[in-house]
Amino acid sequence: MSAVRAQDLTCGYDQRKVLESLSLSANSGEVLVLLGPNGAGKTTLLRALARFLRPMAGMVLLEDQDLWTFSADEAAQRVALMPQSERRDWPLTVEESVRLGRAPHRGWYAPFNVEDRRIVESALASTGLLELRERPITELSGGEWRRMIFARALAQQANVLLLDEPTAGLDLKFQHEVLRLVRDLAKNRKLTVVVTLHDLNHATLYGSRLAVVAEHTIVAVGAAQEVMTVDLIQRVFGVHVTIVAHPIYGTPMVVPLLEMEPARAEEVHP
């Protein structure tokens, strides 16, 4: 059973279709990475999976049930969206912000209880935010702020995590820390993670499967070795690359080339 699935999904804004007849499924315990050029519709897909955008045709299935038959709270208990960016001009503290991740479970009126406090505590601990808990979010650095949003998604305890470029604006250490956390969570807690990334090598290193969004649909999906081909990257991103094996793990690594004629790139290709 797939945890979340798009089935012949067509969606967009007003009359403009961004995605057409797209089908894709993500299974529990896996990290499914969405790749694709800017404007291809990765964010739109995540919004549709998060019940933020209503499909124009087709549907999104959550636990094999139409996502839109769930109430907003029920959906939020199961799916957490970490958007690419959000407003951060209201000086709530880190802890107050993370605690709001409990709202789908506790509701909007009842006081938070001991269980909520424990879950918030563990979310702050897993993201290294314990020492910043009293800090207003208006004063966080870009990386700290991303971790706060991540902690809030963890406090939400959803089985499906939708992460829109969670590494944007982070330094190298936190990029890998966040991705490692994502991978471990998926494995240990059997979460389903759908994440958009721009770095193809992050994708091959941390993704269980990759899906490439382009031309309003999914043009390739599968394991890194199947998806990451020179032709596909050339076609989708318009960049000359060569693909080598990771020296330690053997996973494909995409190496960009400087204006090199494709012929020589092919020679290097393993």
């Binding site: 919004r47 959000e86 107050e96 949003i149």
Partner: protein
């Protein structure tokens, strides 16, 4: 109890003491001990009847009204600032004041008589005017079931200009009523009795409680629509609830004291600098601070030029603006104006 909750309790204590002392201030000075005696001994067996009348019939209802109107403006301001995520919003941001002004002006120039909901004609007309203006702005700005916030603000500004222009025109055409209208527009708590209090305080309490109940949702909304929705928040319904409750509170406050500026802008800022950004604390703290500020302003309004009075709205603006500028200069960080 954590620190912010203690702050709220302390603020309430300060308000209570200030209220007690304010009862003694005025043309006839009455000591705090004597006030307590009068308040606990309503039959007046041991006190002079003039003092009894001054406290019970004049100062007490006026003081309570100042507290409620101030609290209403404070909570409505906090609600609108949270809704718009904008520290410049105040209770009048979507047209309530100009609607109230037009309603009151029409009542004054037409010499309407009678009562409505226990309110005299002018306050009643301003209540209706305020609610009608907000309803018009809301219906113009809404697109289907959505209410884009920018449209709401723009419609509010545009309708306010129109209604204010009509008020100015009416004042120009009815020169003989100019001072009455002008006096009302500047806000005053003078001569309001128990009846005004009984008609406005319940509306302020109900609307204020509704705003407070939605504190957590307002907190979530500060992250922006997408993130709030991903937490399961129904944004459209929340917006309508906040606009409705805040407008009810504003309209009731205006019916109680006329158009009193600055309290609704300044109280939420002071509240946030004292208790942090969570609406669960900001809303009650804004209410208490609003009540306290208006109480002090009214004390000043009725004493500095005694036996005459200043319009309290002039006092709030005269004292409020410099104080606000001072806060802005010294506490920019705590005020959360890093927008």
């Amino acid at each position: 109890m954590n620190r912010p909750v203690v702050v709220v309790v302390v603020l309430f204590a300060v308000l209570s003491v200030t209220a007690l002392l304010s009862l003694g201030v005025g043309a006839v000075t009455i000591s705090p001990g004597r006030i307590l005696q009068i308040l606990t001994d309503r039959e007046g067996s041991k006190v002079a009847s003039t003092e009894l009348t001054i406290i019970w019939e004049v100062r007490l209802p006026r003081l309570l009204l100042a507290c409620f109107v101030g609290a209403g403006l404070g909570t409505a301001g906090a609600g609108y600032q949270g809704l718009f995520r904008n520290p410049l919003a105040d209770p009048f941001v979507i047209g309530a004041s100009s609607g109230a002004a037009l309603g009151a002006t029409l009542a004054i120039i037409n010499g309407w008589q009678g009562t409505f909901l226990g309110l005299a004609c002018i306050p009643a007309a301003s209540l209706v005017g305020a609610l009608a203006a907000v309803a018009i702005v809301y219906s113009i700005a809404s697109v289907g079931r959505q209410i884009p916030m920018v449209s709401l603000l723009l419609a509010g500004v545009a309708l306010s200009s129109l209604l204010s222009a009509i008020v100015s025109l009416l004042m120009f055409l009815h020169e003989e009523k100019l001072m009455t209208i002008f006096g009302w527009l500047m806000g005053s708590l003078s001569g309001r009795g128990w009846a005004t209090l009984w008609s406005t305080a319940p509306l302020i309490l109900v609307g204020g409680s509704f705003l407070w109940m939605h504190s957590r949702a307002l907190d979530a909304l500060t992250f922006g629509e997408e993130s709030a929705a991903s937490l399961g928040l129904g944004i459209g319904r929340l917006r309508s609830t906040i606009v409705l409750s805040a407008s009810l509170v504003t309209a009731a406050s205006v019916a109680g004291g006329g158009i009193i500026g600055f309290i609704g802008l300044i109280a939420p800022h002071m509240a946030r600098s004292l208790v942090g950004a969570r609406h669960a604390l900001v809303i009650p703290a804004s209410g208490i601070l609003g009540g306290l500020l208006l109480l002090l302003a009214d004390d000043i309004a009725r004493t500095v030029v005694a036996p005459s009075e200043l319009p309290v709205g002039v006092v709030t603006a005269l004292m409020g603006s410099p104080f606000f500028l001072y806060l802005l200069k010294t506490q920019q960080r705590e005020l959360g104006v890093g927008l």
